[in-house]
């Protein structure tokens, strides 16, 4: 029993130190990220970017590493900094032979940023959504008095009574049934904010993987079955209300394909993006009167694509990123910590307990053996029983520095000491 008690304490120490130790080390030895913010300049016909240099100073440069001052940098991006350029009288009348105006930019600009964390939150959150009135006579959207869920039918829960609005639920469920919807819903995608100019409603994937458009028009259900193939492996749908785009939003698939869902006929168009995973990579989409720019980002690289409005790639470029823990700090980290328990994942909305082993297990094992030798010497001088030393060493072999520190801190018990003096 005493044996079990002692090693329960060691296991708790391993658990505790493997959370605290590596995270403390990272906080101390991590260097600033060199991740750039990338734009495409139609004026220069190349990518331009800003990032922090080694001293932490913000620098502006193009993809050929020529540095510029902030004002010159802004002149290369007339569609992004048009307000400044108008103020300075530097706004060009035409870009790449195409006439541009303030109004023209306002009507065609669009920006959307989606992080894996946002997608993850959509996956885990409580599935209750507000259904706005899409054909409201008022200019501002009104928050409804109910939220809906789609389980074995579509149900509206009235906020005033916390009970199901039977008549409304029946009307919408019947309309969905009539359109061929198979309950329950697998994905319910929409923009639940009332801070938008108008409302597209929701795009709902039913249990047979068919995508439906569900909206409320003048209190009545508007249900449309889309042309999207049920063979598509839907992962996430991001809807964004904008008059400046010809699509409702983006469809992300599990395999990493990205499609735009077109407004005029619910067809989909594939974006020519490669090496993208929605649960790993961030996605930034922007458009101006001339181009569409997509930037995908993760901890290892930034990949930028400049396209025409017909999704034809004009330019593509990738930047490798330096890890925040690099060089000697990384080598030492991989050696002294055989594994780590992480309570956070930058791509997850919820906390997790994640086990990650050292990326160099051989050096971690070598270090553990070194610790065992050190431990045996110390304990031998303390006249600890050999059986106890052997068991402790076994824990150090697997728990590395976490077991070593834990065992040293817990010290020795009376029973550990040899009865006969050596």
């Amino acid at each position: 029993m005493k044996f079990f008690i002692r090693y329960a304490a060691v296991l708790i120490a391993i658990f505790s130190f493997s959370i605290f130790g590596p995270s403390f080390y990272k906080k101390v030895f991590s260097k600033p990220s060199n991740s750039p913010t990338v734009f495409y300049s139609a004026v220069k016909d190349c990518f331009i970017l800003w990032k922090k240099n080694e001293e932490g100073k913000l620098i502006y440069l193009d993809e050929y590493k020529t540095e510029y001052d902030k004002k010159t940098f802004e002149t290369f991006l007339p569609f992004t900094y048009y307000r400044d350029l108008f103020n300075w009288g530097l706004f060009p009348e035409e870009v790449n032979g195409i006439k541009v105006s303030y109004e023209n930019i306002r009507r065609s600009s669009f920006f959307l940023k989606i992080r894996p964390k946002t997608i993850n939150f959509e996956k885990i959150r409580i599935s209750l959504n507000p259904l706005f009135e899409s054909k409201s006579p008022f200019s501002k959207l009104t928050v409804p008095d109910d939220l809906f869920r789609i389980t074995d039918r579509m149900e509206f829960i009235d906020g005033r009574t916390n009970s199901i609005n039977e008549s409304k639920s029946q009307i919408f469920s019947d309309a969905l049934n009539k359109a061929g919807f198979k309950f329950p819903a697998k994905i319910i995608a929409g923009n639940p904010s009332s801070r938008k100019a108008f409302d597209y409603g929701y795009f709902v994937v039913d249990s047979s993987n068919i995508l439906f458009h569900v909206r409320q028009d003048k209190g009545k259900p508007f249900i449309r079955k889309t042309k999207v193939s049920p063979d598509l492996d839907f992962y996430h749908i991001q809807i964004s209300e904008s008059l400046n785009t010809d699509f409702y939003g983006f469809i992300f698939t599990k395999s990493g394909d990205i499609y735009t869902l077109m407004k005029h006929d619910y067809s989909i168009k594939k974006l020519p993006i490669t090496d993208f995973l929605p649960d790993r990579d961030g996605f930034i989409y922007s458009q101006d009167p001339l181009n569409r720019i997509v930037v995908t980002k993760n901890t290892r690289h930034v990949h930028a694509y400049a396209m025409t409005h017909k999704n034809e790639i004009v330019k593509e470029r990738e930047w490798q990123l330096k890890a925040r823990l690099r060089g000697t700090s990384k080598t030492v980290f991989d050696m002294i910590f055989p594994f780590q328990l992480m309570l956070k994942d930058r791509n997850k909305a919820s906390s997790i307990i994640k086990f990650e082993k050292s990326s160099n297990p051989l050096s971690a094992l070598s270090f553990s053996i070194f610790l065992i030798i050190l431990f045996v010497i110390v304990r031998w001088f303390m006249k600890v029983k050999w059986t106890r030393i052997a068991l402790d060493s076994f824990f150090i072999l697997f728990g590395g520095i976490f077991s070593f520190v834990g065992l040293l801190l817990l010290g020795k018990e009376q029973d550990d000491v040899k009865r006969k003096k050596v």
């Binding site: 708790i12 658990f15 959150r125 409580i126 309570l343």
Partner: protein, 222 residues
């Protein structure tokens, strides 16, 4: 023998239990009044969306209450035993000392469970009146994490109190603090965490709690 130990523990803790009863009653009253007034002042949909999209915990105050209850029971149960070395006398009772320690601790755990389960029941009962079932289910899950965290906190405060050596108390504190703060990492409804690591830690903590008790009985470090 277990009943006698429970009786002894009850007499020892009666004033603390009365105090905790009043504090919990106050918290519950405050919770009911607050929830009612928030729903009177604001649109229910605004409150629901705040919960769904911003992960607002409408029962957040209970997290602190669970922690403080666990710590107080732990200290109140073992501090008098340690101060006057009564625990060594208890260890000489005609029963296994490990079993005696477990029984003593189980009383503290049961008291903590009694208070927190009543709190959870009331939060869920009141929640059902105001919130859809998805939200109350989510609340129950989060409060269960806090409950497990509370048990770990109770055991931790008990074993730090029993530990006779100040050096070892410091070491135990370093080892335990990270584990005890685990329950506070649950920040969203529908968290991807599972109860398994908590239950595993609980399994380790039960024998771990006997560790300082054995040392105390032996008089180590005094």
């Amino acid at each position: 023998m277990i009943l006698q130990i429970y009786k002894k523990e009850f007499y020892k803790l009666k004033w603390l239990l009365a105090g905790l009863f009043i504090v919990h009653l106050g918290y519950i009253t405050q919770f009911i009044v607050d929830t009612n007034s928030i729903f009177n002042l604001h649109s229910p949909i605004a409150i629901w969306t705040n919960v769904v999209f911003k992960n607002a915990f409408y029962f957040d105050s209970f997290k602190f209450l669970f922690t403080i209850t666990a710590v107080m029971i732990g200290f109140a149960q073992f501090l008098p035993e340690v101060q006057k070395r009564r625990f060594r006398i208890a260890c000489h009772l005609p029963m296994n000392e490990m079993l005696m320690t477990c029984y003593t601790m189980s009383f503290g755990i049961l008291v903590f469970l009694l208070f927190s389960i009543v709190d959870i029941f009331i939060v869920i009962f009141i929640g059902q009146k105001y919130f859809p079932i998805e939200i109350t289910n989510g609340s129950l899950e989060i409060m269960l994490y806090w409950l497990l965290g509370g048990i770990l906190t109770f055991i931790s405060s008990a074993l730090i109190t029993i530990e006779p050596s100040w050096y070892r108390r410091f070491v135990l504190f370093i080892i335990i603090i990270q584990v005890v703060s685990l329950s506070s990492i649950v920040k969203v409804y529908g968290s991807e965490l599972t109860f398994l690591p908590f239950l595993f830690l609980l399994l380790l903590f039960i024998p771990f709690s006997i560790f300082p008790a054995l040392r105390f009985r032996r008089g180590a470090g005094i």
